[in-house]
Subunit: 149 residues, 2 copies
DNA sequence: TATACTGTGGGACATTGTGGGAAAAAGTAG
DNA sequence: CTACTTTTTCCCACAATGTCCCACAGTATA
């Protein structure tokens, strides 16, 4: 599977449509399926998966996943599946962001679509900046030093 | 069998009819049978199964299911079958929710139909929100990190 | 400069959610 | 069994939403 990298800035139009970066569209064309999978992510963003990654997630990771507490496991699986959507980009390469996911990620103004390796992430730009300052920047320096980049 | 995912908001009309999300109807059309199976679910919701999943549940999972305490097993199976209904959507894609199931799930105001993988679930929206806050949110982050999504 | 592509907007059409009425079926009382 | 009432099923209606298609200005590419 292609690695998703890069940073792209878009806006949600009046109909809650979001453009997918051309490079990610190209990656999608290389895949077997035609649709992307959009879910609510951690730290207030949305996750976007290519079909191959989504299938692996569901068929392997998820199928064998269990928690000691069955009630917790049920709760997790409920949330995971109920806040996931299969979206096929329209002719202009856009997907539709459902209202509840828009709210989850606090999408108001300009958005960022970030490559994040095996997935992409969608952030409200302001929220990303705040998160970047408070969490990413400090961690990044520390980690980069350990890696000796 | 198709995975059922996504979140959809509806209301029960005056005749206790509930719309089925178009995507789930499409999944039903792919199946051999024409009807959905509705049962009382855990944690105060209703479960909704596609024909193929229901058959597997009854023929395999259920047939081989046993409890050490035979009386408990009998009680469970009684409840399971007696609170299950076979519902065929009408021309507008709605099913009829029996009174006792409506009460089991506390369906009063707006409802949610949630994709939950191999089944769908029907929740009173307020009840889901309470459940989400108290059970799902705490478990979610922990589990998502373990999965390394 | 010309060409292709991208991001964004908007209109036309189809589908959906929801309500209600008529017909059929089931139940009840005499 | 008959006459009447209630419930259920089926069909139609329609506003509102969603989907699909085309448009166009701006940018990058050749």
């Amino acid at each position: 599977m292609a690695l998703l990298i890069g940073r792209y800035e878009y806006t949600l139009d009046g109909k809650n449509r979001l453009a997918i970066p051309p490079k990610f569209r190209a990656a999608l064309r290389e895949e077997k399926g035609r649709s992307l999978f959009l879910t609510s992510g951690l730290d207030g963003c949305l996750y976007l998966f290519l079909p191959s990654r989504w299938r692996r997630l569901v068929d392997e990771d998820f199928a064998s996943f269990s928690l000691p507490d069955k009630e917790e496991e049920r709760a997790f699986k409920r949330k995971f599946f109920s806040e996931a959507e299969e979206m096929t980009p329209d002719a202009a390469g856009r997907i539709l962001v459902p209202q509840y996911l828009k709210e989850h990620a606090g999408l108001r103004g300009p958005l960022l679509v970030l490559g994040a390796g095996r997935r992409a992430e969608i952030w409200d730009r302001d929220r990303w900046n705040a998160y970047d300052q408070s969490k990413v920047a400090p961690a990044y320096e520390k980690a980069a030093k350990r890696l000796e980049i």
